[in-house]
Amino acid sequence: MSNGFSIIAFNVQYRLSRPHSSGVQVQRYNRIILFNENYVSINTRFVEGFDAFEFIVEQYRSVSSFRKGNLGVSMDYDIDRFKVIGSEIYNPTIRSQLSITPGNMYLKVNDEQDVFGSIFRDVDASSGLEIDSYNSSFLGTTININQHDRDVRSIGRQRNILGARQIINSTPAPEPMTEQIKETF
């Protein structure tokens, strides 16, 4: 399998809030989209927790690291609606930040979840709903995320459910949206 070529990859870092030991200041956002174009992979890193009504990851085999909590600081990622639009071939990876300190990334999903084609690594979703994820794989100490295998194919950049081997519920595949938003710029 050819993977093309690669350049030294640096993380692009996001600090959207500043939780701290003398008083947590977690900012809440309406909608955050983490996006990469087709066939481009750039790793990203979130170093503080944040709240969002909607958090959408639409990527193509990128690694998104989320900083884990440490003593005295709450580092939840508290999200009402969580959506991952990955590729069935090159899944984006969502993982806790690499660290010698064991710990999890506390992904708290309160309302809706549409997770397709992704890799979870060392993610703890125990503080929120259990997450159902399709065509995904789990690594490390990921807990409370249920894997379901569905036959989801991409035609163009649209996900189409062509069949189902294990149907858990009738959640439709998410459609990419960022390209449409980009066209407005």
Partner: protein, 372 residues
């Protein structure tokens, strides 16, 4: 072509007997023409005050100059301009123009464009591939400036050009840093300061500083690709509105808060900051102050190609409010909403995200996947 040394017995430029072929020599050489080089070196009347238009080739105000050249008329300097001593002061008007077609070098003396009636004197830099150097501690003060040629400015002084009124750029104005320690700048600062005709390009490795008052309007024309473009918010307790425009990817746009309760408000439309956007503050207030960056009121949208940085230690005792509003903001690079808490809990960063969308679309080092 000949040399013309000022040996005037009175203040009349247009008197043949006031000019000599040699330094301190006998007068009578004739009034300088566009082909003559003019020198002032301390051998003439202390005041030279042309009230009709003048021309010359090179103009050299030498280190020995003790005279004052007060220019109440227009001038065309076809060659290079040098000031090492003395005083050069265009004044009067209206509509006087001083056109510099060659290089401009200031190593001493005083260069100060004054005011008069109507439109105050405008200095025009029309030469192509010319340089402007200010290498002394004293400032060079201008009223109106037009860069219609291609001019590269730098100098050992931090602010190499101070413009009090209008700046027009129809050519290319390049501001370059002097060395690794000195980032030369041009400062636009005055009650009526601003851009007039801007169809050219502002570029270079230096900094452009616009002391931005609450009544000012920033144009959306021209190309801004200079390394640093800084808005220094001038008016206390006031809203400073900014029209949408594009800043090229090589340009870091800096917004500096200077007084309490200042608001920097982006007006409706899309603001393309293709390079970094950095928020600064340059005061250490005795008590807590407020500062606001507002995209909400007019549903402004930002495209930020570089790092979006609210400079972490710049607000020692502030409540800084960032209102993102209901629009779509695209961040192509790092976002850093970080305040240092070393100065205590009085430092607050309040991000009011509104009902809009933030697109984190990283660029930069990347892995391109060409095939499955």
């Amino acid at each position: 072509m000949a040399n013309r040394y000022w040996v005037g017995a009175d203040q009349n430029w247009h008197l043949a007997s006031n000019w000599s072929l040699v330094s301190g020599g006998a007068g009578g050489a004739g009034v300088p023409t566009s082909a003559d080089d003019v020198f002032f070196d301390g051998n003439g009347n202390v005041l030279c005050w042309p009230v009709a238009d003048i021309v010359c080739k090179d103009m050299s105000l030498l280190v020995a100059m003790t005279e004052m050249l007060l220019l109440d008329a227009s001038a065309i300097i076809n060659g290079d301009f040098l000031i090492e001593g003395g005083y050069f002061g265009p004044t009067g008007g209206p509509d006087h123009t001083i056109e510099f077609k060659g290089n401009w070098l200031n190593t001493g003396g005083t260069f100060a464009v004054g005011t008069g009636t109507g439109k105050d004197p405008e200095c025009i830099f029309s030469g192509i591939g010319k340089t402007y150097n200010l290498n002394q501690v004293g400032a060079a003060s201008f009223q109106n400036v037009l860069v219609s040629g291609e001019l590269t400015l730098t100098g050992s002084r931090l602010s190499v050009m101070e413009i009090s009124q209008k700046l027009s750029i129809t050519g290319i104005m390049t501001i370059n840093r002097y060395n690794s320690l000195t980032t030369s700048r041009v400062t636009l600062n005055g009650p009526n300061a601003g851009f007039d005709v801007f169809t050219g390009e502002l570029k270079g490795s230096g900094r452009f500083v616009f002391r931005f008052r609450s009544t000012f309007v920033m144009v959306d024309t021209g190309t801004i690709s200079i390394k640093y473009f800084r808005y220094i918010l001038y008016t206390a307790s006031a809203v400073h509105n900014l029209l949408p425009r594009q800043y090229e990817s090589s340009c870091t746009v800096e917004v500096e808060y200077t007084q309490d309760a200042q608001v920097f408000r982006l007006e409706a439309g899309r603001h393309y900051f293709l390079g970094p956007l950095t928020i600064h503050c340059d005061v250490a207030p005795p008590s807590q102050e407020t500062a606001e960056f507002d995209c909400d009121t007019y549903t402004a949208e930002m495209w930020i190609g570089g790092k979006f940085d609210i400079y972490k230690n710049a607000f020692p005792a502030h409540i800084f409010t960032l209102k993102l509003g209901d629009g779509i903001h695209v961040f192509r690079n790092t976002v850093d909403f970080y305040f240092s808490y070393a100065s205590g809990v009085s430092t607050v960063l309040d991000v009011q995200a509104g009902d809009g969308t933030i697109i984190l679309w990283p660029s930069g080092s990347r892995k391109v996947i060409t095939s499955p």
